[in-house]
């Protein structure tokens, strides 16, 4: 087992760090933070355009498809660094869905969608969950019926994050109502400005917006289908593989932890630095152990993809461990900050710019989103250790 990933990619890391310091200033960081996770603000638009200009949205795509052919570990080092800097990541459109299109799309589909994704012109909101189909996604009921040369779509999607600013919907819908649940699903690409689409915003605890999206007799051309008709389940599950690795990224947590330690050393309460309180020493040191374990599990999953393996259980491990560490770390950090732990990023006196409470309030979503951690544990037990389904 080798652990020289940072070392071997020194040049790449240096390039990434130089890029981040040039294109993502402390002011950008503060603006992003105060945006409360709003992924469409002008700062983020500009930053994504900078990434696209280097073709970094497509860094893991094969060169033949217009990408840079970088490994998953290289992409992870990059995304880890962005998370550490508080910069927005490459979203799922480029990092996951594009790879799905490359894997299962026809030459025509690839020619049509990959270029605009690479340039940042096409961004997908992911339309999977429905009011009555969550973890049991295969029971989704949004219908698409072929009428001549057009699909006619009717149904309802929820947790459709980004639908208010993305250009297109990556829509899972039922195209064969007679087939068994997993076999009658297709994926359609639907421009979000198509008549018949209603986007209703929903605000979450952390302040982040998501959406409920209603489709009523929405018409798109027949060739907006991606992959093979009725075989969309494969497209859905493929696109979720790297997402679990991406959710397991630890850069943001490591930054928060380092700033917390620095704060504890520099801040005197009741006559002594917080860093000398025995309970603080123990709690923070235990978190340091878990942060390192989370980082190793995260890179292991990416390394498996590079080795040609499919990290079923291993991707679930990084997802579960990191997302639950979010809560442990933020819960401890807010408590260590004391009364100041409740200050938000708009308050100039907020230690760590109010990040610990942001993590605390964002963490539940990470734990139940992207496939609940209960589903992930099923995967670990069943795919990893061979327990029955």
């Amino acid at each position: 087992m080798d652990f020289d990933l940072e070392e071997r990619h020194q040049a790449w890391l240096a390039e990434v760090r130089a890029f981040v310091s040039e294109h993502f200033s402390a002011d950008d960081r503060a603006a992003t933070r105060r945006g409360g996770g709003e992924w469409s603000g002008p700062t983020i638009r500009r930053f994504r355009a900078d990434l696209a200009a280097r073709n970094w949205l497509a860094m893991t795509w094969p060169p033949a498809e217009g990408g840079l052919g970088k490994s998953m570990v290289e992409q992870l080092l990059f995304m880890d660094e962005l998370a550490y800097a508080g910069a927005p990541a490459i979203d799922m459109t480029a990092s996951s869905i594009a790879l799905t299109i490359i894997g299962i799309g026809t030459p025509e589909q690839k020619a049509r969608w990959l270029g605009p994704i690479r340039d940042g012109a096409v961004e997908f909101a992911v339309g999977y969950s429905e009011p009555d189909a969550g973890s049991d996604l295969a029971t989704l009921s949004t219908r698409a019926v072929l009428d001549g040369e057009e699909w006619v779509i009717n149904g309802e999607k929820v947790w459709n994050t980004g639908a208010e600013y993305c250009s297109h919907e990556w829509l899972a819908c039922r195209t064969d109502p007679e087939a068994p649940p997993h076999r009658g699903i297709s994926v359609l690409v639907v421009p979000l400005d198509t008549p018949g689409i209603t986007v209703r915003g929903i605000t979450t605890w952390r302040g982040m917006r998501t959406n409920q999206v209603h489709f009523e007799d929405v018409r798109v051309p027949a060739d907006n289908l991606v992959g093979t008709r009725h075989d969309g389940w494969r497209a859905i599950t493929r696109a979720l593989d790297f997402e679990r690795v991406a959710i397991g990224i630890t850069g943001g947590l490591r930054r928060a932890f380092e700033e917390l330690v620095a704060h504890c050393r520099a801040t005197v309460v009741d006559g002594r630095p917080i860093a000398e309180r025995p309970d603080v020493i123990t709690d923070l040191t235990r978190l340091a152990v878990d942060l390192e374990l989370a980082r190793l599990l995260n890179y292991r999953a990416a390394a498996m993809i590079d080795a040609g393996l499919v990290p079923h259980a291993e991707a679930s491990m990084t997802k579960v461990f990191t997302t639950e560490l979010h809560t442990r770390l933020a819960d401890t950090a807010t408590d260590v900050l004391g009364l100041e732990g409740q200050l938000d990023p708009y308050d100039d006196g907020a230690p760590l710019d109010g990040v610990p409470q942001l993590i605390y309030r964002a963490a539940p979503y990470l734990r139940f989103g992207g496939g609940t951690n209960e589903i992930q544990r099923d995967i670990i037990a069943q795919r990893g250790l061979g327990l029955p389904r």
Partner: protein, 372 residues
């Protein structure tokens, strides 16, 4: 990049070790008749395991620390008698601290098993090299060692103890080789619950020649701390492997055991216990190998070793206690090997630095606490 698997050479090494240890592992349940413990260790030494990563010119295998780690994955899995570990650490300390002449004189016999060394470090109330009270004083051409060592592993079968002592005039450790049969040395058994062989060694004005100093007077700190870090990292590898085996035993049980008309393994509550334990074990294994990897190339590894030891202890204790819960009464009886793993999980957590000791060390690296 391979956080993913061992090199083919190390996999081969592991296969040989697993095959050799299979009869011993099959005999772990109290009801089974297994090979004799001493014979298993002697056979392991004869296979070259003590000298695996010692220089070839001194009779060793010329391997690296990672090769030993690959071996320890199998010894951990099979619960190899711990006498192997103390012999490996003792020999590694001789190699790290000894003068060139001492290495040439001592290592060949340690590699073949004709001699066996063990480290005598802990004292009542003192654990760290910096706070030890065992003394060594010069009297002309002779030295006198006075003190009492506790939890000395396998002192009974050792040809010599490497006693960590201190000259009264010095703050630094001196390593002294003491024959356990020498006049003034009293070796008494310690009643540990896991039954592995640890001893109290009383050193009552023990007279040794100056040549018994391993390396230089006052020169023991550096080689000792290097070997203790290696020992902790290797033990973490061994522990993660033992934890994995304990979880496998639990999985075997829940797969075979049917209640309410289906295997226990089909219940989600059971699966989630298994999933959480497997995640802790995988994380511990990665952390242990990372520590070994850093040590192998001489990189700074203080934090990594402590992370590894803490993670391995948590994973092993969690795996064995969860396995008891999953197996119920069937795993709790001594006819089932699980209790042996549970013993090792706790004793291994307490040796080579407790969780608390490693957390304290790590907090210092992080800059938490007072004087650090």
């Amino acid at each position: 990049m391979s956080l993913v698997e061992l090199s083919p050479e190390r996999q081969q090494l592991a296969r040989v070790a697993r095959a050799y240890l299979a009869p011993w592992a099959d005999g772990l349940a109290a009801s089974a008749d297994g090979p004799d413990e001493a014979a298993v260790v002697a056979g392991a030494v004869a296979l070259g395991w003590v000298g695996l990563a010692l220089p070839e010119r001194h009779g060793g295998g010329g391997g690296t620390l990672g090769d030993v780690a690959a071996l320890y994955e199998e010894t951990g899995r099979a619960l190899c008698p711990t006498a192997l570990y103390s012999a490996v650490s003792g020999a590694r300390l001789v190699a790290a601290a000894g003068s060139p002449q001492q290495r040439a004189d001592l290592l060949p016999a340690l590699c073949t098993g004709e001699a066996r060394a063990t480290i005598a470090l802990a004292e009542a109330g003192n654990r760290r090299p910096g706070s030890l009270t065992t003394t060594v004083e010069e009297h002309g051409e002779r030295l006198e060692v006075v003190g009492e060592k506790r939890f000395v592993p396998d002192a009974g079968g050792a040809s010599f103890l490497v006693v960590v002592a201190r000259r009264p005039c010095s703050a630094n450790a001196t390593l002294v080789m003491v024959d356990p049969g020498a006049e003034g040395v009293a070796v008494g058994a310690t009643g540990t619950f896991a039954g592995d062989r640890q001893f109290v060694v009383a050193l009552d004005r023990v007279d040794v020649p100056t040549g018994a100093v391993l390396g230089r007077l006052d020169g023991g700190d550096r080689p000792l701390s290097a070997v203790l870090d290696e020992q902790a990292a290797l033990q973490a590898v061994e522990m993660a492997a033992g934890a994995r085996r304990a979880l496998e035993l639990a999985v075997e049980h829940v797969t075979a055991r049917v209640q309410f008309g289906r295997p226990l393994a089909a219940f989600q509550a059971v699966q989630h216990h298994v999933a959480d334990t497997a995640t802790l074990i995988d994380a511990a294994r990665l952390a242990a190998w990372r520590a070994v990897w850093l040590l192998e190339r001489g990189a700074e590894a203080t934090a990594a070793v402590s992370v590894a030891k803490v993670a391995a202890g948590r994973a092993y204790r969690s795996a064995t206690l969860t396995a008891f819960q999953l197996c119920g009464g069937a795993g709790y009886v001594t006819e089932h090997p699980l209790h042996r793993y549970a013993d090792r999980a706790k004793t291994a957590s307490l040796t080579a630095g407790t969780t608390g000791e490693h957390l304290a060390r790590l907090s210092g690296v992080l800059g938490l606490g007072g004087a650090s």
